[in-house]
């Protein structure tokens, strides 16, 4: 059974596409057959971050419209063995996505043996975002540590649990929070919300905290999902998040300025 995971946020520019690329790569690198779908019709970002924009022939909308089959449209990732990308169309508009069309593609992918289907949602709460979340079994809600982003995430969680197909069937969508662009120094200065504030407001499980890091921008310019950069804190944080997503117990890191001191203290106490 394929697990459908939407990466969503409400607010734009918080790191959904960065996260979709990193998480899908991470899951695939752990041996699961994975596909990442770009629902941001008309903008096309994912293929650039995944460095496959020059290999796009057919896209998601072509497949929905029956102008191409899945096999023609899926792009095999060059880095992660089990990863495929289904790119968005640059020329169509969002209305090209229909509930029936999306459902058919998701079913085909599941029948093809994909274990994880990651849906990179566009910003907002309009049609495109709705299509990306409608069939989700799980949602990774991406938020930045600031009030407006957290508020939008709250809104998205509400929509998810009331308008998605699972909600319509009286079931819940598994939800988790990924706090990105986290800067412990600025949190300490009171310029940003802290992890505990955000967790308290959103009252949902924390999948991970991704620190603000310039390696992210560098990685996306090079077309290498940042999770491949095992030296960088952001890459490591995404790796940890993938571990948690797959059910491992992984301690949270990168949350405080004096993190080493804290760890030492904890160890001494438990010893």
């Amino acid at each position: 059974m394929a697990k459908i995971i939407v990466v969503t946020s409400g607010k734009g520019g918080v790191g959904k596409t960065t996260t979709s690329a990193a998480i899908s790569s991470g899951i695939a690198m752990r041996g699961h057959k994975t596909v990442v779908i770009d629902f941001d019709i008309g903008l096309r970002n994912l293929d650039i971050i995944m460095n496959c924009e020059r290999r796009v022939v057919y896209d998601f909308v072509n497949v929905i419209n029956g102008e191409a089959n899945l096999r023609q449209a899926l792009i095999k990732d060059k880095r992660a063995e089990n990863l495929y990308i289904l790119p968005a169309s640059q020329t169509r508009d969002k209305d090209a996505l229909t509930v029936e069309g999306v459902e058919r593609i998701l079913n085909e992918l599941a029948a093809d043996g994909f274990e994880y289907i990651i849906c990179d949602s566009p910003a907002g709460i309009e049609h495109g975002a709705f299509m990306a979340m409608y069939f989700a079994d799980m949602a990774i809600v991406v938020a930045n540590p600031e009030v407006s982003s957290v508020r939008d995430s709250d809104r998205i969680l509400g929509i998810l649990q009331s308008k998605s197909r699972r909600a319509e069937r009286g079931e819940r969508v598994e939800e988790c929070l990924l706090l990105t662009r986290y800067n412990p120094e600025r949190v300490a200065k009171g310029e940003m919300l802290g992890v505990t504030d955000v967790e308290e407001i959103l009252a949902t499980k924390l999948l991970g905290v991704i620190p603000e890091s310039e390696t992210v921008l560098k990685a996306s310019n090079q077309g290498i999902p940042v999770i491949h950069d095992i030296e960088s804190p952001a890459g490591q944080a995404y790796s940890d998040a993938v571990g948690r997503l797959l059910g491992e117990e992984v301690e949270h890191r990168f949350m405080s300025v004096e993190q080493k001191g804290l760890f030492k203290r904890l160890f001494r106490r438990s010893a």
Binding site: D154, G158, I159, S162, A167, E200
Partner: protein, 271 residues
């Protein structure tokens, strides 16, 4: 819905002699299945002896939904007198026919529309001493209780509950609205900023109240709001409200109850 309509804190210059306000009262149904004077009188006397507190000028609605036999020939005046003698005050009829309604007019009984009734238990048998009356709210049957887009999946409403209490176990997110028509609302989580919870009765929040809470929306001035942490945008009881700036002054972020004293909304800490 008359939510904030009756806000006017100061009555207008030329004092009007009366105001028409919506009220919502629990009424007990006396479901009569057959009538034979002596037998009826005896049974009612026995019942009154069991629960003297209940039989004390208690308004009841005479209902003939389960009546076997012809109600057209029923001596309504006699029946009403027996009730009065035992401390029951018939105020209205329901599920009657034209003959009975003509009789009702002569003895000043109101006619209730036929409508949905909650599954009932014998009130006096259920709790003979305190005898909470069956909640058959007038308003619920007379008006179309249009329920706003609630967190549908989250709500649980027990079929066997005595009062139409609505219980929600999941957070109420920004943009969501939950309404408990005809009764209390219990939320076992937080209410986010940008969310709105409403009830005809009381509102209990076992979490933080960060959004808007409106109790007694049909005019019940005895309604209250309870929450574990007051961080609200607005709190209103029967149209008397306070907003964020007023609320911040006292007991902010502490466990409180809100109630009405005359037309003033009072916030008091819960100990």
């Amino acid at each position: 819905m008359p939510l904030l309509k009756s806000l006017s804190k100061k009555p207008s210059a030329s004092k009007s002699a009366f105001r028409l306000k919506g009220g919502l009262f629990p009424l007990t149904l006396l479901e009569i299945s057959h009538y034979e004077r002596a037998d009826f009188e005896q049974q009612l006397t026995n019942k009154a002896a069991e629960a003297p507190i209940f039989f004390n000028q208690t308004p009841v609605v005479l209902s003939f939904e389960e009546f076997d036999g012809d109600i057209s020939t029923l001596p309504l005046g006699e029946l009403v007198n027996i009730c009065k003698a035992q401390g029951l005050l018939p105020v209205a009829l329901r599920n009657s026919n034209t003959e009975l309604q003509t009789q009702a007019k002569h003895i000043d009984l109101a006619i209730m529309p036929v409508g949905r009734v909650k599954p009932s238990k014998d009130v006096t048998e259920a709790e003979p001493e305190t005898a909470p009356p069956e909640n058959t709210s007038v308003a619920e049957k007379n008006e179309d209780t249009d329920e706003p887009n609630a967190a549908r999946s989250a709500e649980a409403r027990s079929e066997f509950s005595h009062s139409p209490t609505k219980t929600v176990t999941t957070p109420i997110r920004s943009g969501q609205q939950v309404y408990a028509p005809g009764g209390d609302l219990i939320i076992m989580a937080s209410v986010s900023a940008g969310a709105e919870v409403l009830a005809d009765g009381n509102i209990h929040i076992y979490g933080a109240l960060r959004g808007r809470a409106l109790a007694g929306v049909r005019g019940d001035t005895s309604a209250r709001i309870f929450c574990q942490s007051l961080e609200a945008e607005l709190v209103s009881i029967a149209g008397n409200f306070k907003v964020d700036e007023d609320l911040r002054k006292d007991h902010w972020k502490s466990a409180v109850q809100a109630s009405l004293d005359e037309h003033t909304l009072c916030i008091t800490p819960l100990v």
